[in-house]
Amino acid sequence: MTRRVRLWILAVGGAGLAALLVAACLELPGFGGTSHPYGDRAVRASLARRTANTIASINFDQRAFDTLGEMSILFASVLGTVVLLRQTRDERRAKPEPAYVALPVRRYALIVLPVALLTGLYVIAHGQLSPGGGFQGGVVAATALHLLYLGADYRALERIRPVGLYEVGDALAASAYLVTGLAGLIGGAAFLANTLLPYGTFNTLSSGGTVPLLNAAIGMEVACAVVVLLARFLDQAVEIEQEGGT
Protein backbone atom coordinates (compact mmCIF):
# COMPACT_ATOMS: atom_id res chain seq x y z
CA MET A 1 0.00 0.00 0.00
CA THR A 2 2.54 2.56 -1.17
CA ARG A 3 1.91 6.25 -0.91
CA ARG A 4 1.30 6.50 -4.67
CA VAL A 5 -1.55 3.95 -4.57
CA ARG A 6 -3.11 5.80 -1.67
CA LEU A 7 -2.94 9.09 -3.56
CA TRP A 8 -4.73 7.48 -6.51
CA ILE A 9 -7.51 6.17 -4.26
CA LEU A 10 -7.79 9.61 -2.69
CA ALA A 11 -8.03 11.27 -6.12
CA VAL A 12 -10.76 8.92 -7.38
CA GLY A 13 -12.75 9.03 -4.14
CA GLY A 14 -12.37 12.80 -3.91
CA ALA A 15 -13.53 13.35 -7.47
CA GLY A 16 -16.61 11.16 -6.90
CA LEU A 17 -17.46 12.96 -3.66
CA ALA A 18 -16.95 16.36 -5.32
CA ALA A 19 -19.28 15.45 -8.18
CA LEU A 20 -22.01 14.29 -5.81
CA LEU A 21 -21.66 17.35 -3.58
CA VAL A 22 -21.81 19.79 -6.50
CA ALA A 23 -24.88 17.99 -7.85
CA ALA A 24 -26.47 18.34 -4.42
CA CYS A 25 -25.60 22.05 -4.30
CA LEU A 26 -27.40 22.68 -7.60
CA GLU A 27 -30.59 21.15 -6.12
CA LEU A 28 -30.49 23.25 -2.94
CA PRO A 29 -32.98 26.17 -2.71
CA GLY A 30 -31.39 29.42 -3.96
CA PHE A 31 -29.10 31.39 -1.64
CA GLY A 32 -30.97 34.18 0.18
CA GLY A 33 -34.42 32.60 -0.26
CA THR A 34 -37.36 33.73 1.85
CA SER A 35 -38.70 30.38 3.14
CA HIS A 36 -37.32 29.90 6.67
CA PRO A 37 -40.14 28.07 8.51
CA TYR A 38 -38.15 27.22 11.64
CA GLY A 39 -36.58 30.65 11.84
CA ASP A 40 -39.91 32.49 11.85
CA ARG A 41 -41.35 30.20 14.53
CA ALA A 42 -38.19 30.53 16.64
CA VAL A 43 -38.36 34.34 16.46
CA ARG A 44 -42.04 34.27 17.44
CA ALA A 45 -41.37 31.95 20.40
CA SER A 46 -38.41 34.07 21.55
CA LEU A 47 -40.45 37.28 21.43
CA ALA A 48 -43.27 35.55 23.30
CA ARG A 49 -40.80 34.91 26.13
CA ARG A 50 -39.44 38.50 25.84
CA THR A 51 -35.87 37.43 25.02
CA ALA A 52 -34.30 40.07 22.78
CA ASN A 53 -31.53 37.82 21.38
CA THR A 54 -33.37 35.01 19.54
CA ILE A 55 -30.19 32.93 19.23
CA ALA A 56 -29.75 32.94 23.02
CA SER A 57 -33.42 32.02 23.37
CA ILE A 58 -32.89 29.06 21.03
CA ASN A 59 -29.70 27.96 22.75
CA PHE A 60 -30.90 28.29 26.34
CA ASP A 61 -34.67 28.06 26.15
CA GLN A 62 -36.13 26.30 23.13
CA ARG A 63 -33.24 23.81 22.69
CA ALA A 64 -31.73 23.94 26.20
CA PHE A 65 -31.48 20.14 26.26
CA ASP A 66 -29.25 20.22 23.16
CA THR A 67 -27.02 22.78 24.85
CA LEU A 68 -26.80 20.39 27.79
CA GLY A 69 -25.38 17.87 25.31
CA GLU A 70 -22.92 20.44 23.92
CA MET A 71 -21.79 21.30 27.44
CA SER A 72 -21.20 17.64 28.31
CA ILE A 73 -19.12 17.19 25.12
CA LEU A 74 -17.06 20.20 26.18
CA PHE A 75 -16.71 18.84 29.71
CA ALA A 76 -15.72 15.38 28.44
CA SER A 77 -13.08 16.68 26.04
CA VAL A 78 -11.52 18.80 28.79
CA LEU A 79 -11.60 15.77 31.07
CA GLY A 80 -9.90 13.70 28.36
CA THR A 81 -7.20 16.32 27.87
CA VAL A 82 -6.51 16.50 31.62
CA VAL A 83 -6.16 12.72 31.81
CA LEU A 84 -3.95 12.54 28.70
CA LEU A 85 -1.62 15.37 29.64
CA ARG A 86 -0.99 14.38 33.26
CA GLN A 87 2.60 14.17 34.48
CA THR A 88 3.73 10.52 34.26
CA ARG A 89 6.26 8.87 36.56
CA ASP A 90 9.21 9.22 34.20
CA GLU A 91 8.79 12.98 33.93
CA ARG A 92 9.86 15.79 36.23
CA ARG A 93 8.66 19.34 36.54
CA ALA A 94 11.31 22.03 35.90
CA LYS A 95 10.69 25.52 37.26
CA PRO A 96 9.99 27.97 34.39
CA GLU A 97 12.68 30.65 34.04
CA PRO A 98 11.56 34.29 34.03
CA ALA A 99 11.44 35.54 30.44
CA TYR A 100 12.60 38.98 29.28
CA VAL A 101 9.61 41.02 28.07
CA ALA A 102 9.89 44.62 26.93
CA LEU A 103 8.33 47.13 29.36
CA PRO A 104 5.65 48.51 26.99
CA VAL A 105 4.49 44.98 26.17
CA ARG A 106 4.28 44.10 29.87
CA ARG A 107 2.40 47.29 30.70
CA TYR A 108 -0.01 46.62 27.81
CA ALA A 109 -0.67 43.09 29.13
CA LEU A 110 -1.28 44.38 32.65
CA ILE A 111 -3.73 47.01 31.36
CA VAL A 112 -5.62 44.87 28.84
CA LEU A 113 -6.03 41.90 31.21
CA PRO A 114 -8.77 43.50 33.36
CA VAL A 115 -10.34 45.20 30.34
CA ALA A 116 -10.61 41.88 28.49
CA LEU A 117 -11.94 40.19 31.63
CA LEU A 118 -14.60 42.89 31.98
CA THR A 119 -15.51 42.62 28.27
CA GLY A 120 -15.85 38.85 28.68
CA LEU A 121 -18.17 39.31 31.64
CA TYR A 122 -20.11 41.97 29.68
CA VAL A 123 -20.56 39.55 26.77
CA ILE A 124 -21.80 36.84 29.15
CA ALA A 125 -24.14 39.15 31.09
CA HIS A 126 -25.76 40.62 27.97
CA GLY A 127 -26.05 37.24 26.28
CA GLN A 128 -29.79 37.38 25.97
CA LEU A 129 -29.89 41.00 24.78
CA SER A 130 -27.10 41.91 22.35
CA PRO A 131 -24.85 39.57 20.33
CA GLY A 132 -22.91 37.38 22.74
CA GLY A 133 -23.59 34.71 25.32
CA GLY A 134 -22.02 32.27 27.70
CA PHE A 135 -19.93 30.44 25.13
CA GLN A 136 -18.22 33.53 23.60
CA GLY A 137 -17.87 35.46 26.86
CA GLY A 138 -16.37 32.47 28.63
CA VAL A 139 -13.62 32.09 26.03
CA VAL A 140 -12.86 35.85 26.07
CA ALA A 141 -12.59 35.87 29.87
CA ALA A 142 -10.36 32.79 29.90
CA THR A 143 -8.08 34.20 27.18
CA ALA A 144 -7.80 37.44 29.16
CA LEU A 145 -6.25 35.57 32.08
CA HIS A 146 -3.47 34.18 29.88
CA LEU A 147 -2.34 37.66 28.93
CA LEU A 148 -0.20 37.33 32.05
CA TYR A 149 1.71 34.45 30.44
CA LEU A 150 2.14 36.46 27.24
CA GLY A 151 3.04 39.69 29.02
CA ALA A 152 5.29 38.22 31.71
CA ASP A 153 6.06 34.53 32.12
CA TYR A 154 4.48 31.28 33.19
CA ARG A 155 5.53 31.63 36.82
CA ALA A 156 3.52 34.85 37.17
CA LEU A 157 0.49 33.19 35.62
CA GLU A 158 0.76 30.20 37.95
CA ARG A 159 0.84 32.52 40.93
CA ILE A 160 -2.50 34.11 40.00
CA ARG A 161 -4.30 31.02 38.68
CA PRO A 162 -4.79 28.12 41.14
CA VAL A 163 -5.82 25.31 38.72
CA GLY A 164 -7.69 23.32 41.38
CA LEU A 165 -10.07 26.23 41.90
CA TYR A 166 -10.91 26.33 38.20
CA GLU A 167 -11.48 22.57 38.02
CA VAL A 168 -13.96 22.87 40.90
CA GLY A 169 -15.50 25.91 39.16
CA ASP A 170 -15.89 23.88 35.97
CA ALA A 171 -17.74 21.09 37.79
CA LEU A 172 -19.83 23.55 39.82
CA ALA A 173 -20.98 25.44 36.72
CA ALA A 174 -21.89 22.24 34.92
CA SER A 175 -23.97 21.11 37.89
CA ALA A 176 -25.52 24.59 38.20
CA TYR A 177 -26.85 24.16 34.67
CA LEU A 178 -28.32 20.79 35.67
CA VAL A 179 -29.82 22.11 38.90
CA THR A 180 -31.52 24.95 37.04
CA GLY A 181 -32.99 22.33 34.74
CA LEU A 182 -34.12 20.18 37.65
CA ALA A 183 -35.68 23.22 39.27
CA GLY A 184 -37.96 23.41 36.19
CA LEU A 185 -38.84 19.78 36.74
CA ILE A 186 -39.53 20.30 40.46
CA GLY A 187 -41.54 23.41 39.64
CA GLY A 188 -44.07 21.17 37.92
CA ALA A 189 -43.05 21.81 34.31
CA ALA A 190 -40.62 19.88 32.13
CA PHE A 191 -36.82 19.53 32.56
CA LEU A 192 -35.06 22.80 31.56
CA ALA A 193 -38.46 24.40 30.88
CA ASN A 194 -38.52 28.18 31.02
CA THR A 195 -41.64 28.50 33.18
CA LEU A 196 -40.10 29.21 36.58
CA LEU A 197 -39.13 32.85 36.55
CA PRO A 198 -41.22 35.77 35.24
CA TYR A 199 -40.13 36.88 31.75
CA GLY A 200 -39.50 40.45 32.93
CA THR A 201 -39.66 43.50 30.67
CA PHE A 202 -38.29 43.22 27.14
CA ASN A 203 -34.69 44.20 26.44
CA THR A 204 -33.62 44.40 30.11
CA LEU A 205 -31.07 42.30 31.97
CA SER A 206 -33.71 40.36 33.89
CA SER A 207 -35.80 39.42 30.84
CA GLY A 208 -36.15 35.93 29.45
CA GLY A 209 -36.82 33.87 32.60
CA THR A 210 -34.11 31.24 33.14
CA VAL A 211 -32.11 32.21 30.00
CA PRO A 212 -29.76 34.56 31.91
CA LEU A 213 -29.13 31.90 34.58
CA LEU A 214 -28.27 29.19 32.05
CA ASN A 215 -26.20 31.74 30.15
CA ALA A 216 -24.16 32.56 33.24
CA ALA A 217 -23.70 28.86 34.07
CA ILE A 218 -22.43 28.10 30.55
CA GLY A 219 -20.21 31.20 30.66
CA MET A 220 -18.56 30.13 33.90
CA GLU A 221 -18.24 26.54 32.69
CA VAL A 222 -16.58 27.48 29.37
CA ALA A 223 -14.24 29.97 31.09
CA CYS A 224 -13.09 27.43 33.69
CA ALA A 225 -12.82 24.68 31.07
CA VAL A 226 -10.57 26.79 28.82
CA VAL A 227 -8.36 27.82 31.77
CA VAL A 228 -7.94 24.17 32.82
CA LEU A 229 -7.25 23.18 29.19
CA LEU A 230 -4.57 25.83 28.70
CA ALA A 231 -3.08 25.06 32.12
CA ARG A 232 -2.45 21.45 31.07
CA PHE A 233 -1.04 22.47 27.66
CA LEU A 234 1.24 25.09 29.24
CA ASP A 235 2.44 22.59 31.84
CA GLN A 236 3.36 20.12 29.13
CA ALA A 237 5.01 22.65 26.83
CA VAL A 238 6.84 24.75 29.43
CA GLU A 239 7.40 22.77 32.58
CA ILE A 240 7.21 19.00 32.25
CA GLU A 241 10.30 17.30 30.79
CA GLN A 242 11.36 13.76 30.02
CA GLU A 243 13.64 12.18 32.62
CA GLY A 244 16.51 12.52 30.13
CA GLY A 245 16.03 16.29 30.30
CA THR A 246 15.00 17.73 26.90
Binding site: L21, A42, V43, I55, I58, E70, N203
Partner: protein, 115 residues
Protein backbone atom coordinates in the same frame (compact mmCIF):
# COMPACT_ATOMS: atom_id res chain seq x y z
CA UNK B 1 -24.81 32.83 -9.15
CA UNK B 2 -27.03 31.94 -6.19
CA UNK B 3 -25.11 28.69 -5.59
CA UNK B 4 -21.65 30.21 -4.94
CA UNK B 5 -21.79 29.96 -1.10
CA UNK B 6 -22.63 26.27 -1.25
CA UNK B 7 -19.80 25.65 -3.74
CA UNK B 8 -17.36 27.55 -1.49
CA UNK B 9 -18.42 25.38 1.46
CA UNK B 10 -17.92 22.21 -0.63
CA UNK B 11 -14.52 23.47 -1.83
CA UNK B 12 -13.32 24.20 1.72
CA UNK B 13 -14.51 20.77 2.86
CA UNK B 14 -12.71 18.95 0.03
CA UNK B 15 -9.52 20.97 0.53
CA UNK B 16 -9.60 20.11 4.23
CA UNK B 17 -10.08 16.41 3.51
CA UNK B 18 -7.21 16.50 0.98
CA UNK B 19 -5.03 18.17 3.64
CA UNK B 20 -5.80 15.50 6.23
CA UNK B 21 -5.21 12.63 3.78
CA UNK B 22 -1.85 13.86 2.50
CA UNK B 23 -0.46 15.44 5.68
CA UNK B 24 3.01 14.41 6.86
CA UNK B 25 2.57 15.92 10.33
CA UNK B 26 -0.29 15.11 12.71
CA UNK B 27 -0.47 18.68 14.02
CA UNK B 28 -0.90 19.88 10.43
CA UNK B 29 -3.67 17.28 10.03
CA UNK B 30 -5.48 18.65 13.12
CA UNK B 31 -5.27 22.13 11.54
CA UNK B 32 -6.79 20.78 8.33
CA UNK B 33 -9.58 19.19 10.38
CA UNK B 34 -10.33 22.66 11.79
CA UNK B 35 -10.61 23.88 8.18
CA UNK B 36 -13.09 21.08 7.45
CA UNK B 37 -15.17 22.11 10.46
CA UNK B 38 -15.28 25.73 9.28
CA UNK B 39 -16.75 24.48 5.99
CA UNK B 40 -19.81 23.29 7.90
CA UNK B 41 -20.27 26.72 9.50
CA UNK B 42 -20.17 28.41 6.07
CA UNK B 43 -22.75 25.97 4.69
CA UNK B 44 -25.04 26.31 7.72
CA UNK B 45 -25.05 30.10 7.65
CA UNK B 46 -25.44 30.20 3.87
CA UNK B 47 -28.57 28.04 4.17
CA UNK B 48 -30.04 30.41 6.78
CA UNK B 49 -29.43 33.66 4.87
CA UNK B 50 -32.28 35.83 3.57
CA UNK B 51 -31.70 38.65 1.05
CA UNK B 52 -31.90 42.00 2.81
CA UNK B 53 -32.37 40.28 6.17
CA UNK B 54 -30.67 41.31 9.39
CA UNK B 55 -29.70 39.44 12.52
CA UNK B 56 -32.67 38.44 14.76
CA UNK B 57 -31.13 40.30 17.72
CA UNK B 58 -33.67 42.91 18.77
CA UNK B 59 -31.61 44.87 21.28
CA UNK B 60 -31.25 47.79 18.89
CA UNK B 61 -33.97 47.20 16.25
CA UNK B 62 -37.76 46.96 16.65
CA UNK B 63 -38.99 43.37 16.23
CA UNK B 64 -40.85 42.90 12.96
CA UNK B 65 -39.58 46.12 11.41
CA UNK B 66 -36.96 44.38 9.23
CA UNK B 67 -36.79 40.90 7.68
CA UNK B 68 -34.50 38.61 9.70
CA UNK B 69 -32.26 35.71 8.80
CA UNK B 70 -32.75 32.23 10.27
CA UNK B 71 -31.52 32.11 13.91
CA UNK B 72 -31.69 28.31 14.29
CA UNK B 73 -28.65 27.65 12.07
CA UNK B 74 -26.77 30.39 13.94
CA UNK B 75 -27.45 28.68 17.27
CA UNK B 76 -26.10 25.41 15.84
CA UNK B 77 -22.95 27.04 14.44
CA UNK B 78 -22.31 29.08 17.59
CA UNK B 79 -22.04 26.23 20.07
CA UNK B 80 -20.15 24.08 17.57
CA UNK B 81 -17.35 26.65 17.16
CA UNK B 82 -16.48 26.53 20.86
CA UNK B 83 -16.92 22.78 21.25
CA UNK B 84 -14.82 22.30 18.08
CA UNK B 85 -11.99 24.19 19.74
CA UNK B 86 -11.98 21.95 22.80
CA UNK B 87 -12.17 18.83 20.61
CA UNK B 88 -9.17 20.18 18.66
CA UNK B 89 -7.38 20.53 22.02
CA UNK B 90 -8.20 16.88 22.81
CA UNK B 91 -6.80 15.81 19.43
CA UNK B 92 -3.62 17.82 20.05
CA UNK B 93 -3.28 16.12 23.44
CA UNK B 94 -3.50 12.76 21.64
CA UNK B 95 -0.81 13.92 19.19
CA UNK B 96 1.43 14.80 22.13
CA UNK B 97 0.92 11.31 23.54
CA UNK B 98 1.76 9.76 20.16
CA UNK B 99 4.88 11.87 19.96
CA UNK B 100 5.85 10.84 23.50
CA UNK B 101 5.29 7.12 22.90
CA UNK B 102 6.60 6.78 19.32
CA UNK B 103 8.93 9.75 19.10
CA UNK B 104 7.44 10.87 15.75
CA UNK B 105 4.35 12.65 14.47
CA UNK B 106 4.62 11.53 10.83
CA UNK B 107 1.60 9.29 10.16
CA UNK B 108 3.52 7.24 7.55
CA UNK B 109 6.31 6.52 10.03
CA UNK B 110 3.73 5.64 12.63
CA UNK B 111 2.03 3.00 10.55
CA UNK B 112 5.33 1.14 10.16
CA UNK B 113 6.00 0.99 13.93
CA UNK B 114 4.61 -2.12 15.56
CA UNK B 115 3.85 -2.61 19.25
Amino acid sequence: MSVLPYLVAVWIFLVGCYGIATSRNLIHAVGCLAVCQSATYVLLLAVGYRDGGTAPVFSDVKPGSRPVVDPVVQALALTDVVVGATVTALLLALVMQVSKRHGTVDPDELSELRG
